[in-house]
């Protein structure tokens, strides 16, 4: 499968994520959009990793280690995303307790 399709798919997912972050006011949906962007990047990394691996095998390197670092990154990103989600959700819970809403536009106290 050509790499081009993966790139298009990832860009589409990433753009949906950006638009989601920019347009929605619900904190949980913004969170989901961020996850979407992260996963778009993950997809990209895995796709490129695979592409490099195939290229290496075709060139005669049969060890199968080429492009592995991209896949390693994906694991790290997943770990960080999980940690981020737990902290972020905790913040959203506290936010809901305080202002009885998850609308980020109510949270403009940083201005002052």
């Amino acid at each position: 499968m050509p790499i081009f399709s993966y790139i298009v798919l990832s860009i589409a997912l990433f753009s949906i994520g950006i638009v989601g972050v920019l347009t929605r006011r619900n904190a949980i949906i913004i969170f989901m959009s961020i996850e979407l962007m992260l996963n778009a990047v993950n997809l990209m990394l895995v796709a490129f990793s695979k592409m490099h691996q195939n290229a290496a095998i075709l060139a005669g390197d049969l060890s199968g280690t080429a492009g592995m670092d991209g896949q390693l990154f994906v694991f790290f990103i997943m770990v960080v995303a999980a940690a981020e989600v737990s902290v972020g959700l905790a913040i959203i819970v506290m936010m809901y307790r305080n202002i009885h809403s998850v609308d980020v536009n109510f949270l403009n106290r940083l201005k002052h």
């Binding site: 950006i18 949270l107 403009n108």
Partner: protein, 631 residues
């Protein structure tokens, strides 16, 4: 020979030390101690100068280098002193006459408050120090430091009685006039640096370096130096500060007019005679400026009624004579006249100080008269001074003035005629001053008449010494025609500076005739003065006399064509340029920043969405730049 170099730095250092001690300790030291320190340091310098004189008498010249004063790229300016015949002669004049003036000041200024007394002596010492630096400097930059120093000290001393606004104005005038000349001098130094790449006299006057200069260079440099000299030595058009400098205490006038300051210009031109010899045009300018100044100042002196003003204009006039000598190439005659003039002008000023002292501060000669009986020593020394300046043989002024007149005659009879006429006027106004002041009836108040007394010994002693010098000081320059080998000064100065021989030297009989002519005319002028002023009655001047009394209205002219327009210009700047342009610019910057920050503040809305939007937009922007602008 090297012992000269080892000790010569002490000569300027002593007055500097005196300046520091007296200046810092002016509130703690007693008046006696201040007087001793002030005079003693100058006396020390004088003794050292005598010793230096003995060292260079036989034609040695030395340059003592101490440290690098300034080094920029290839230009290295050492702090160095030049000890040769010219500078040693000036050293003797400055420290010798300077010491007598210090001694005189001890009594003259005794009425001052202790703090001010110390201040006075510290300035006086600084003045001597600057002048010594000026004549000892082995390059134009050290000379210029001294040059600026005497300008500063003249400002400080003219404005010594700073509580009188008028005196402060006189001090400012002296300073500003000097600055104008100094600027020209500075430009000349830069020009020399640009063309030759060195400021040391030894380099600048070396033949291979002079060859680098075009005729234009030489003419412009010498003209600029001459403009510098007109400021310091009070020549047309920058002479008006000198008569106003009378605001200072009388010994200061003596110091400025006789030993220091005004002779700086003469010294500088004599020092640069190599350059001047290459610029005939400049020499003519110098000669005619000097002559015009001599004549103008002499006519003004005819009608002045302030005892010090007469002497001030006579100084300007005599300086004009010296410049005439320089302009005709008679450098030695100019230096000779500097020396004799230092003697008799210091004598006359100190004598006038003695008169003013006796009269309780009165300076108007119309209120004097008949002082001869009460002020015996002052009178007789004053007579000697007048005879010397008038130029009667064998007094000193005769020989130096004769040398100048002779040189003028060899250059052109026109110069000679005007110079001779000026010499006549000199004799006339000096004896007018003498007769009005010392003969006839006393015209002052009862109180003044009661107060009249001869000055104390510390004041009369310098007078007597200076009178002796005024009498005999000219004998070192007796013309060859009178006595074979009599002109010792020319022989002495020969290694440092020599006059330019003229194409058509006068014959001996001609020279005798010229001497007899000038002496006869001067005697006639003295007799005329005696007839007119021996029983002086006060009367108002009219016609030409009034113009002369008002100094040809030169001050008013300067006021109208320079000062007033400058004031107007200042007014314009004050009312338009400063509030509109400068304030507008400064306030505009402030206002722009204020406005900009108020607009930028709107970005910080506190809305998370807008922050994210900005973040995304800037990221897109950075990517765009990466893509399209970077190759």
């Amino acid at each position: 020979m090297n012992n000269v170099l080892q000790i010569v730095w002490l000569i300027p250092l002593l007055p500097l030390a005196g300046f520091l001690v007296n200046g810092l300790g002016r509130n703690y030291l007693s008046k006696t101690l201040i007087g001793i320190i002030g005079s003693g340091t100058v006396l020390g310098s004088f003794i050292l100068s005598c010793w230096v004189f003995l060292q260079v008498k036989d034609g040695n010249t030395h340059v003592a280098e101490y440290f690098t004063f300034m080094a920029v790229d290839k230009l290295v300016i050492p702090f160095a002193f030049k000890v040769d015949q010219l500078s040693s002669l000036f050293l003797l004049i400055i420290t010798g006459v300077g010491f007598l003036i210090h001694l005189y000041s001890v009594s003259y200024m005794h009425g001052e408050k202790p703090g001010h007394y110390g201040r006075y002596f510290s300035y006086l010492n600084l003045f001597v120090f600057s002048m010594l630096l000026l004549v000892m400097g082995a390059n134009f930059v050290i000379l210029f430091i001294g040059w600026e120093g005497v300008g500063l000290c003249s400002y400080l001393l003219i404005g010594y009685w700073f509580k009188k606004q008028e005196y402060n104005k006189a001090a400012n005038k002296a300073f500003v006039m000097n600055r104008i000349g100094d600027l020209a001098f500075l430009i000349a130094i830069f020009w020399i640096i640009a063309k030759i790449g060195s400021v040391s006299f030894a380099d600048v006057f070396a033949a291979e370096n002079l060859a680098k200069l075009t005729q234009t260079d030489v003419t412009v440099i010498t003209l600029l130096l001459f403009i510098g000299a007109t400021g310091k030595s009070a020549q047309i058009p920058l002479y008006t500060w000198l008569p106003d400098a009378m605001a200072g205490p009388t010994p200061v006038s003596a110091l400025i007019h006789a030993a220091t300051m005004v002779t700086a210009g003469i010294y500088m031109i004599a020092r640069s005679h190599v350059l001047y010899n290459m610029a005939p045009l400049t020499l003519n300018v110098v000669a005619y400026t000097g002559l015009a100044t001599a004549l103008l100042a002499a006519t003004i002196a005819l009608k002045q009624n302030d005892i010090k003003k007469v002497l001030a204009y006579s100084t300007v006039s005599q300086l004009g004579f010296m410049f005439l000598a320089l302009g005709t190439g008679a450098y030695v005659a100019a230096v000779f006249h500097v020396m004799t003039h230092a003697f008799f002008k210091a004598l006359l000023f100190l004598g006038s100080g003695s008169v003013i002292h006796a009269m309780g501060g009165e300076q108007d000669i119309r209120n004097m008269g008949g002082l001869r009986k009460k002020l015996g020593i002052t009178f007789w020394t004053f007579v000697i001074g007048c005879v010397a300046i008038a130029g009667i043989p064998p007094f000193s002024g005769f020989f130096s003035k004769d040398a100048i007149l002779l040189s003028a005659f060899e250059k052109s009879p026109l110069l000679y005629g005007v110079a001779l006429f000026t010499a006549l006027l000199t004799a006339f106004y000096m004896f007018r001053l003498l007769f009005i002041t010392f003969t006839g009836k006393f015209r002052g108040t009862e109180e003044q008449a009661h107060h009249l007394h001869e000055s104390p010994l510390t004041m009369t002693l310098p007078l007597v010494i200076l009178a002796l010098l005024s009498f005999a000081g000219g004998w070192i320059g007796v013309p060859e025609v009178i006595r074979e080998g009599g002109d010792k000064l020319t022989a002495f100065l020969a290694p440092a500076v020599a006059s330019v021989p003229h194409e058509h030297p006068v014959t001996h009989s001609q020279e005798y005739f010229l001497m007899a002519l000038s002496t006869g005319l001067v005697l006639a002028a003295i007799i005329a003065a005696w007839l007119m002023f021996r029983n002086y009655q006060r009367k108002e001047a009219a016609g030409l006399g009034k113009v002369l009394e008002n100094k040809w209205y030169v001050d008013e002219l300067y006021e109208a064509i320079i000062v007033q327009p400058l004031h107007k210009l200042g007014g314009i700047f004050k009312s338009i340029v400063d509030p509109k342009l400068v304030d507008g610019l400064v306030n505009g910057v402030g206002r722009a920043v204020n406005y900009g920050s108020r607009q930028l503040r709107l970005l910080q809305s506190g809305q998370v969405g807008s922050y994210v939007l900005l973040m995304v937009l800037s990221m897109v922007l950075i990517f765009a730049i990466q893509f399209f602008l970077r190759k």
